[in-house]
Amino acid sequence: MEYFLQQLINGVTLGSIYGLIAIGYTMVYGIIGMINFAHGDIFMVGAFIALIFIVTLGITASLPVALLILALIGVLIVSMALTAAWGWTVERIAYRPLRGSFRLAPLITAIGASIALQNFVQISQGARNKPLQPLISGGFTLTDGGADGSGFIVQLSYTQILIIVVTVALMIGFTLLINKTSLGRAQRACEQDRKMASLLGINVDRTISLTFVMGAGLASVAGLMFLLYYGVIDFYIGFLAGVKAFTAAVLGGIGSLPGAMLGGLLIGLIETFWSGYFSVEYKDVAAFSILAIVLIFMPEGLLGKPEVEKV
């Protein structure tokens, strides 16, 4: 039971990170119907920018707690802005010229952009792992393993709490943004019918750009969380995280924001439980097999709308 609880906590944490990345996929897919293959690498870029600022500012665990939190918020805001700039640039260079072109063209440029980003970071930052000393240590001990110390110790670290809280806060903020603001309305309109939206005076190009900017911003939050949680990053983390986040988006029903979050949580849980109870090596296989099974029996995902094919 204790073991289960621990895996549950770990799974939810991991799932939050996947969910944040998955939102970027699902929004872009919803609005222009393409798989933004470079999104995983945007996440990686976000993690690197956060790492560089943390090291530059000399943020370490020895700072007073209040200062540490303030500094991390500062790093988060700056890296969100810079990562968003990367997202915007990728969209501007690789996707916008191909709008209205045939379906595979933007996918190829997306793969190209993904390869380019990965190698750009590899060259500019070096191929070696970047280890970061843990910034936030300690946590709550939920069960102390019994009086004789033989039981399993369940821990909920402050980092995990931070990740879950930030994710929930961002999700709430984001849902409000989509549902209540004029930008959100413009986005939903573009999602339904781009031509009609532009006839009604919505700047479609700008809306799509903003979608990419928001997705990249969330990905950079995920990047910082990943960095805090694992404490080590390299230029290759974007690929696998990206594929899994996309899996999460598809699992939850692509185009649906709560679906992306739910899918992210599920993928995180599946992965953690699989590594906890069966084997670590095949955790990716488990996640992908679930994807295949869901798609076969429920092609629209868990929360997606069934798509009607029109002639």
Partner: protein
């Protein structure tokens, strides 16, 4: 007039400056500050500042954008147009297209002899190796072209079948001692079998879902190969895979070897030449089969499926079976190419079958122009040849590769060869190519 040109120049400069500013924002952190594990800090990260590199990168963006603005994007007569008018009109090349295939073919057949006479046995080795590599990618491109180009199914995990083919041969040779010529058909059959197993459940899915499932499948195969240590050797791979023989005659020195049998002086280049002709033959068979199948009902069904799946279904075409044949055939050729890869390298490991390989093959097909056989050849030569050409740049070449993929696609979204030859025409006349503006992809 002068006012206009003034504005024009100022606009260009402003635009380029904006581009430079964005580049500064992008590059300042990622290029300017390198997080490095400093040796003096006890394994902790330190920052190395490189503002000079940032200045260079920003200057390149500014200058490049300014030049493009001045001469291409905002100019009254873009340079590209002027340059384009200097070259003969592309339409006048159309009759040449008919001869392109035979010319390529003849060139491909005599290539080893040309190289041998130009560089000698020793010097031509590296060029032949490159030719073999390019031809392998041509074959893979043609195989994937059946799936993506003809049937319109987006497959992001094609390398999985390549891996199945390679490992089939390597494992069959290792455990049962089968020779290459027995394993080649077996590898193809096994790969096709995997194609069917994978395809059966997922082919009912829409295009993009199919893409992601095939991608996932490619990763699964790789992860299994990587972790099933007892059977596949895991990350160590399989080494000592037997080399192919010339129909039973080994390429060895001395009695009974290839050189001895044919009264030639022994040279290691014989095997390379043999491998080259082998892959060329396999590629040509792939092409031949594809071109023939295009004219059969199943091939026409593929292309109809690509254009409009709903129309196909309403005309009574069994879409699942049609997709499945395309998928299995594409997988089979991938398997053949895979077992050739295994025998050429003599060593395989999961490293060779990463997603990047799938992306490269797909890029060859799409950049060449979907469904165009000759386009695949051109794209393979440009991409793989260019890739090797940039070998001197070492670490930069994957970056250049990625950027080139973006640039070529933005420049020619339909691929290099974007006209299509109809597989059937009225009144038996040789039909003209259909321009790309007239064809529309379905959502297979």
């Amino acid at each position: 007039m002068s006012v206009k040109s003034d504005n024009f120049f100022m606009d260009s400069v402003k635009d380029a400056a904006a581009g430079g500013l964005i580049a500064l924002a992008l590059f300042a952190v990622l290029i300017g500050m390198k997080a490095e594990v400093a040796s003096g800090l006890g394994g902790q990260l330190g920052i190395v500042y490189r503002w000079g590199a940032v200045a260079v990168a920003v200057a390149i963006v500014f200058g490049g954008r300014l030049l493009l603005n001045l001469f291409v994007w905002k100019a009254d007569t873009p340079v590209t147009q002027t340059a384009g008018s200097l070259l003969p009109n592309l339409q006048s090349f159309a009759p040449l297209g008919k001869y392109a295939m035979p010319i390529f073919l003849v060139l491909a057949v005599v290539l080893p002899f040309l190289l041998m006479s130009a560089y000698g046995a020793r010097g031509s080795r590296q060029y032949l190796d490159l030719a073999i590599l390019v031809t392998t990618y041509v074959m893979l491109g043609w195989g994937l072209n059946i799936v993506v180009g003809l049937a319109g199914l987006l497959d992001l995990g094609y390398v999985a079948f390549y891996a199945v083919g390679a490992y089939s041969y390597a494992l069959l040779a290792e455990y049962f001692g089968f020779s290459f010529w027995i394993c080649l058909p077996l590898a193809g059959i096994l790969a096709a079998f995997w194609g069917i197993i994978l395809g059966f459940p997922v082919l009912r899915l829409r295009g993009d879902y199919l893409a992601i499932v095939t991608l996932a499948f490619g990763e699964i195969i790789r992860v299994v190969l990587l972790n099933w240590y007892e059977f596949t050797g895991g990350p160590d791979g399989i080494s000592g895979i037997p080399r192919p023989s010339f129909f039973g005659i080994e390429f060895t020195r001395g009695e009974g070897g290839f050189a001895d049998t044919f009264g030639l002086e022994f040279s290691s280049i014989h095997r390379i030449i043999f491998l080259y002709y082998l892959i060329l033959l396999m590629a040509l068979i792939t092409n031949f089969v594809t071109m023939r199948l295009r004219k059969l009902p199943v091939g026409r069904a593929w292309e109809a499926l690509r254009e409009d799946e709903i129309a196909c279904r309403s005309l009574g075409i069994n879409t699942t079976n049609t997709k499945l044949t395309a998928f299995a055939l594409g997988a089979m050729f991938g398997g053949f190419a895979g077992s050739f890869f295994a025998t050429r390298q003599g060593f395989i490991s999961p490293e060779s079958f990463t997603f990047i390989e799938s992306a490269v093959i797909l890029a060859i097909v799409v950049l060449g122009g979907l469904g165009s056989q000759i386009g695949v050849v051109i794209a393979a030569i440009v991409m793989i040849g260019g890739f090797e050409f940039f070998r001197g740049l070492e670490e930069y070449r994957m970056l250049v590769f990625g950027l080139l993929m973006v640039i070529i696609m933005v420049w020619k979204p339909r691929g290099l060869i974007s006209t299509r030859n109809p597989s059937i025409t009225l009144s038996g006349k040789k039909g003209k190519g259909i321009s790309s503006d007239l064809v529309q992809e379905g959502h297979g």
